[in-house]
Symmetry: C2
Subunit: 448 residues, 2 copies
Amino acid sequence: MHHTLDDVITRSTELLRAKDLAGMSQLVADLPPADAARILERTDSAERAVLYRLLPKDRALDVFEQFDASVRSELVNALRDDDVVTLFAELDPDDRVELVDELPSNVAHRLMQGLSRTERELTAPMLGYAKGSVGRRMSPEYVRVHPTTTADQALAQVRAIGAGAESVYLLPITDDSRRLVGVATLADVATADPTTVVDNLSTSRPVVTADVSAEEAARSCLDHRSPAVVVVDSENRLIGILTIDQASRILEDAEDEDAARAGGTEPLRRPYLATPVLSIVRSRVVWLLVLALSAILTVQVLEIFEHALAAVVTLALFIPLLTGTGGNTGSQAATTVTRALAVGDVRPRDIGAVLFREIRVGATMGAMRGTLGFVIAGLVYDWHLGLVIGSTLLAICTLAATVGGAMPLLAKKIGVDPAVFSTPFISTFCDATGLIVYFAIAKLVLGV
Amino acid sequence: MHHTLDDVITRSTELLRAKDLAGMSQLVADLPPADAARILERTDSAERAVLYRLLPKDRALDVFEQFDASVRSELVNALRDDDVVTLFAELDPDDRVELVDELPSNVAHRLMQGLSRTERELTAPMLGYAKGSVGRRMSPEYVRVHPTTTADQALAQVRAIGAGAESVYLLPITDDSRRLVGVATLADVATADPTTVVDNLSTSRPVVTADVSAEEAARSCLDHRSPAVVVVDSENRLIGILTIDQASRILEDAEDEDAARAGGTEPLRRPYLATPVLSIVRSRVVWLLVLALSAILTVQVLEIFEHALAAVVTLALFIPLLTGTGGNTGSQAATTVTRALAVGDVRPRDIGAVLFREIRVGATMGAMRGTLGFVIAGLVYDWHLGLVIGSTLLAICTLAATVGGAMPLLAKKIGVDPAVFSTPFISTFCDATGLIVYFAIAKLVLGV
């Protein structure tokens, strides 16, 4: 029952190098779907299509559902048309919608037309919700029960319809007009006395409307440790559920995006080793413009002070130290506040409290670093230079922490992804303003 | 059923400002546990203890389980001794172990002694596993079934023991000597024909040994979209399960840590607004030493080239641009590779493939930026300087991407958290080496 994925990856690398596709297909066929998908994602697009078609029919779908979104659309492009039509019909509605979002609209349209009426009627309404909303990511298949149903009857209902429902771990309770009146978990139903009415088993579980963002709904599911969140329309009528495994996948994607943006790249949306070099370049080159701006700004600022630099060349020695400190302090503050925003610990309207905090944090760190800088530069060079370095560090740290802490909140307020104001952006800002502060203080103290 | 947490937070802020603890306690009592915990986490430690004791008895425990780890230990310190003893006895074993990890060892020891024998026997073995292993975070309460049990009998067993088990969504199947022979999901059992034997319902689900890291086990649970992972000892004997909501909490904490480290801070381990300013300073000041090293390195490197700087002051203008580009390129590569490592897309032994990729990515970006730098510096200043800037950009980008991509893998190989080699570390390295490359090229081209 145990097998280490690591060994399997090593074995598959050998097989691929030997071009042994038959061996590969046998290796993959025996793996759990998640591991099979992981292995196939490491192969190139042509090999992947061949190996996928060699999978046993009943396992292919499970493996497909485990692929990253962009790998799915790549695979669909490489498969034969009739294979795609069958695959599309077999997918769960939420996976189907995700695939539609990746495909060219004419292909998506043709595939939708090819669906049976029942499946089309399940899928089409989801496509009506905005991209990124939970309405587009939920599952429209569930088992709903009437408030007067007993636990035993509910279990019978699960048994009867269960196989078709995405998840049966949460049973929405609805009245005759499909309005949500409560929620029971399968665990509570299964452990209750069989004659208990489900209305008495109803517990407080998260409910969201379909226009709420998928990320917010997913976080609410995990925050409340619920097997699913219930999705309703504006009139409180049940339209779907978002299960905890869908929720954790949504959050995983969001973390991916945040982590990438914080590091100044766009998310790859597919496994690193399966991403072409040029796509990686493209994901990182978005910041080229910001860097060009940085170039112009910092060079221009320094040009203004070229005279002072020529007079006291020693001033140049501290430039990387000072800009580095500013950039680091700013990105530390931005990281903390961005994360606090993402998990809901702060809201944009808390900006006053955040600024007050960051000013104190920045000033404290600035005082520590400034003292250190004053002493070292004073001992090695002279105390006037020490004073310049020390007070510049104090000023830069305070400024950078305040700006770094405020930026994610301002971004959120104007409706931009807070993670966009990431390291490159903040360092650019801190570089330029830090240099101005530096030379202003140097002029004042040294009179250059 | 709907209420927006945002409104509740605003209302609670007003109540706290008016020191209306009675109003606050009423507000909190009606909220779902996760939201109540969120509100209480925003209050100060003394208010929180009072409000917590005012909670209805049956809800207090649910709220406690939703607190962040450090808030829990703070609360335990603020509660009366007998309250703590009762609370400790009521906690689930995994929450109990988490609390023990936060408390001073004499307090933890006394609390463990106060447990009933049954509860102590459930908890004590978990404390024997290493910190960070799944053995310490799993739940030792579950419903296990015999291979010959029918679906109907299994449901009856769930009903009989269910209330005490942490999760009944996954039922481990064991033989007479408690060895794991399979796993069935509650969904499969509930939807199966009542007479089906559970052995026939057994599906492939992730299994880990107790010494595996909690993070790895949690990721395996979510990757396989399983309601839980089964934990066994080295002889394949069942000892616990890790449920998907425990798993997602573990991953959430790990993401927190990674996001914080990537930004050059330590994770706060409690909500931002509830963290004292000095704790925030402490979480960021860990990098003070790295920055001091950076200071010494960059200042020293520039001192070596002070003569060249004095001869051509214009060279100083480009220092922030060049070190900034190096730092950004390096942290982009590190971010991508760290993330790929975390989700299992690359392994330390893939270092060859990663280096080959990053050299090409770095060289491509370096060629683009270098050309731009060559043209702009050439037009504005002169073509010799353009050549220096252009080729330095090419060299720095290639170097930074390669080093940034390799560092997380090397860290993992020597058993260090890859996220430790974060922005501050890589910028320090890139700053110093970038400057050496810059002046070496300048000497060669300009002959200074």
